[in-house]
């Protein structure tokens, strides 16, 4: 008997494919779910990992969490919130379009517990980031509970998907759906009234910081998924550096998930504003001059 081998050199298309968009769903006004073909990554990815996506020539390399994968179909699920040029370009792709480059899976897989109770807290597009974690916890027999939030009803995503793994409590800022209020107030009730072994959270940085501050007095370990600006995603540039427990670490190779009680969220928020001027510029159609500069702050 010869072991079955993956045909590396015989079937190049196995890894040379352009990455075809095979399905597209609009989840909310500015959040889109794309299922794209990337067979190898779909086969080996683990919860917590991400890919670097480059749409085509001239496009930026941007990190996106692998929200789900179907290894039989060879597809990855990416859930993308259109916040700037690159994410807008990606969310405007249609079925049949393709993405030139997808590299991954990158980052460390999530540190998962194997028994007990886990609370997954997702805000906005972060809900898609906690999805694969809840999925894997569930398959390991961990009791999963999710609290997810959005500005209003239309911004709540992945409720049904998460419901497959356990109870889901939805909150909206305006009370248009589920409970009115922030995910942290619901989480506070849960932490006060039941035994939670670990919290996993992803969402806007202020939300993750609020969750970490909330769980600290309860002494419950809290894993946060950080989203600094990245370039290569392989530890080569250091642009993604974050401060954790007073140590400078590279989120792409040392993370992207860290102990929330140790993270310097202020630094992360500051660094995320580095290209604010540039980001506005790249969306401004009147500003396509070849040598337009990104002005800095000094006079």
């Amino acid at each position: 008997m010869t072991p079955e081998k993956r045909p590396f050199s015989h079937n190049l298309s196995y890894y040379e494919d352009m990455h075809l968009v095979v399905a597209k769903t609009r989840l909310s006004e500015n959040v889109v779910r794309l299922d794209v073909s990337a067979p190898r990554i779909a086969e080996v990815r683990q919860p917590g990992q991400f890919v670097i996506v480059r749409l085509g020539e001239g496009a930026e390399r941007i990190p996106l969490t692998i929200a789900d994968a179907d290894s039989d179909a060879g597809t990855l699920t990416l859930v993308i919130q259109a916040v700037g040029k690159s994410t807008k370009d990606l969310t405007s792709l249609e079925v049949g379009d393709s993405i030139t480059d997808i590299a991954g899976p990158l980052g460390h897989p999530t540190e998962l517990i194997t028994s007990g109770r886990a609370l997954c807290i997702g805000g906005g597009v972060g809900t898609a980031v906690v999805h694969p974690i809840a999925q894997e916890l569930f398959s390991r027999g961990v009791d999963v509970m999710s609290v997810i939030g959005g500005r209003a009803r239309d911004f709540v995503i992945f409720e049904n998907e998460l419901f497959r793994f356990g109870d889901v409590i939805v909150c909206t800022d305006d009370g248009s759906y589920g409970k009115k209020g922030l995910v942290t107030s619901v989480a506070q009730d849960i932490l006060a009234n039941s035994e939670i072994d670990i919290v996993y959270t992803a969402g806007p940085v202020p939300m993750m910081r609020a969750v970490a501050n909330l769980t600290r007095p309860f002494g419950v370990k809290t894993i946060v998924s950080l989203n600094p600006v990245m370039v290569d995603g392989t530890g080569m540039c250091g642009g993604c550096r974050v401060s954790v427990g007073g140590q400078t670490l590279f989120a792409c190779v040392d993370g992207p998930e860290f102990d929330g009680h140790e993270v310097d969220f202020e630094m992360l928020m500051d660094r995320l504003t580095t290209y604010r001027t540039a980001e506005k510029q790249s969306l401004n159609p009147n500003c396509q001059s070849r040598h337009a500069s990104v002005s800095t702050h000094l006079p």
């Binding site: 480059r54 001239g58 530890g235 642009g239 580095t274 500003c287």
Partner: protein, 496 residues
């Protein structure tokens, strides 16, 4: 000037040769080029190259060859060149150096071959680097005329990790020996530091692209966006290929470890250069990746990387671009030509200065770099004077962008996933004299073995490893090779 005709090559006497002065490299005007990304050196014309070639004394015992890390037969290729035999020169040069267009531009010739040149003792050495570049470029431009040698497929497969000069040189050698070669590259474009690190104005990307295309034409498969240690493990490659060559470089930037280093406006040279070279941030917003265009940029370090970052800053529109180096001017490790060009382009230098803090404002933007004056102290292990701080000598360089170019280390991304791979205390892979690692059939070379070194050394490692791997592949009946042969045999049975 000496008349040239290919039919009756005139042979100058040694005395005549001694009279010819070293040719100057034609270059873009300093002021003009500091505002564009076009190549600075324009290359010798054929006429200048032939003249320069005539300066070579054709020494019986050529010292220059000893100065070359890969022992290029320098007098021989120059001889062909001086006879106007460009195909002969190209063939001779390419035998020893697979990337002459690249090394002709980036090798520190002044401390290698040219420093050994007999003529350097009395005046100026033969411009070996210029000639290498000239012949390399000629060969590239005329590669269409050359038919790749017919090779008999060996039936063996090789995986190469990393497409920098080490990986590319190994790929070329192995393909020429008939092996089926696949190069895996983490980034979306092949070339390693030649693509993402060394700027266009020093090494045009079209040269690297042409070298990559040449390899593809020779049958090498290049697979980008594939991170070994993540997309595939080394163990999987070992199972799938008959041999593996690791040339994943030393791409982990070292930071200064001083307060303020995480302020906005502090870059590693790797990030700064990658944004511009790989992602075309200088064309933003016509390309999507931005880079901060600092008005006053301070660059920490004194090597080629620091010069590249500082000259890039100038080209991005900086009013001042200042190199901060903790040793003296004489100890600057950059290629002489880079430092010279940098000065011409109006860069400033702060020698004997070491950063102690990056200063920032309330919004966490960089506002300055606080440094301390250094003086030469006792010699260190390297024999160089150890720079020591002069107490109370702190001063501030006002700036809005700081780029650190103080070196890089082995990136543990791949090696940390292979516990059986033996590393030294710096995380570099340990190899034997054949370039083989502690894992049988797995070879390594370039920066991942040497620490941050040079293009020519990485290339030399790749070439040597290709030879050693060829021996290994021919002498070992590798397991997967035999399995594949079994599969092939059974397929043939079915078909018959």
């Amino acid at each position: 000037m000496i008349a040239k005709s290919p039919d009756t090559p005139s042979k100058p006497t040694p005395k005549q040769r001694m009279l010819i002065e070293r040719q100057h490299m034609p270059e873009q005007d300093a002021q003009a080029r500091a505002a564009n990304f076009g190549e600075v050196n324009l290359g010798l014309t054929e006429q200048l190259a032939l003249l320069e070639a005539d300066r070579c004394l054709q020494c019986k015992v050529p010292k220059c060859v000893n100065g070359c890390p890969v022992k290029v037969n320098i007098p021989q290729f120059i001889k062909h060149l001086s006879e106007g035999d460009l195909p002969g020169a190209a063939k001779c040069l390419l035998r020893d150096n697979v990337l002459p267009s690249v090394t002709g531009r980036v090798c520190p010739q002044e401390s290698q071959c040219e420093s050994e040149c007999l003529r350097a003792h009395k005046g100026l050495s033969v411009a070996i680097g210029y000639l290498e570049r000239f012949v390399g470029d000629w060969a590239r431009e005329h590669s269409g005329d050359q038919t790749p040698n017919e090779v008999t497929p060996s039936g063996k497969t090789v995986a190469i990790v990393g497409s920098g000069p080490g990986g590319l040189a190994a790929a070329g050698g192995l393909a020429a020996s008939g092996h089926d070669v696949t190069v895996f590259e983490a980034l979306h474009k092949a070339g390693g530091v030649l693509i993402y690190g060394i700027p266009e104005f020093r090494l045009p990307k079209k040269i690297v692209e042409a070298e990559v295309r040449r390899l593809e034409k020779a049958g090498v498969k290049i697979v980008c966006n594939t991170i070994i240690g993540r997309t595939y493990t080394l163990q999987e490659l070992q199972g799938q290929f008959d041999a593996v060559f690791l040339a994943n470089g030393a791409g982990l930037p070292i930071f200064m470890n001083i307060p303020g280093e995480n302020l906005k406006g502090v870059y590693s040279a790797n990030e700064y250069l990658t944004r511009v070279n790989l992602m075309a941030a200088h064309e933003f917003p016509n390309s999507d990746t931005p880079v901060l265009r600092g008005k006053h940029v301070a660059i920490v370090g004194g090597g080629n990387v620091a010069m590249d970052a500082a000259r890039t800053a100038k080209r991005l529109g900086a009013e001042s671009s200042t190199i901060v180096y903790r040793r003296s001017k004489e100890e600057l490790p950059a290629r002489e030509e880079e430092a010279h060009h940098a000065r011409e382009e109006g860069l400033q230098f702060e020698f004997l200065a070491a950063p102690v803090q990056v200063l920032g404002n309330e919004e966490k933007w960089v506002t300055g770099l606080k440094c301390v004056r250094m003086q030469a102290g006792e010699p260190d292990e390297s024999g160089r004077a150890r720079p020591v701080a002069i107490p109370g000598s702190e001063f501030v360089i006002p700036c809005d962008t700081v780029v650190t170019a103080i070196g890089s280390r082995a990136n543990p991304l791949l090696t940390s996933t292979c516990p059986d791979l033996q590393l030294n205390k710096w995380g570099n892979i340990i190899v034997d004299e054949n370039g083989m690692t502690s894992l049988p059939g797995v070879f390594a070379g370039g920066d991942i073995v040497r620490g941050a070194a040079t293009v020519i050394l990485a290339m030399g490692d790749g070439k040597r490893a290709a030879k050693a791997m060829d021996d290994y592949l021919r002498n070992t009946e590798t397991e997967s090779g035999s399995i594949r042969n079994n599969i092939m045999a059974s397929l043939c049975d079915v078909n018959l």
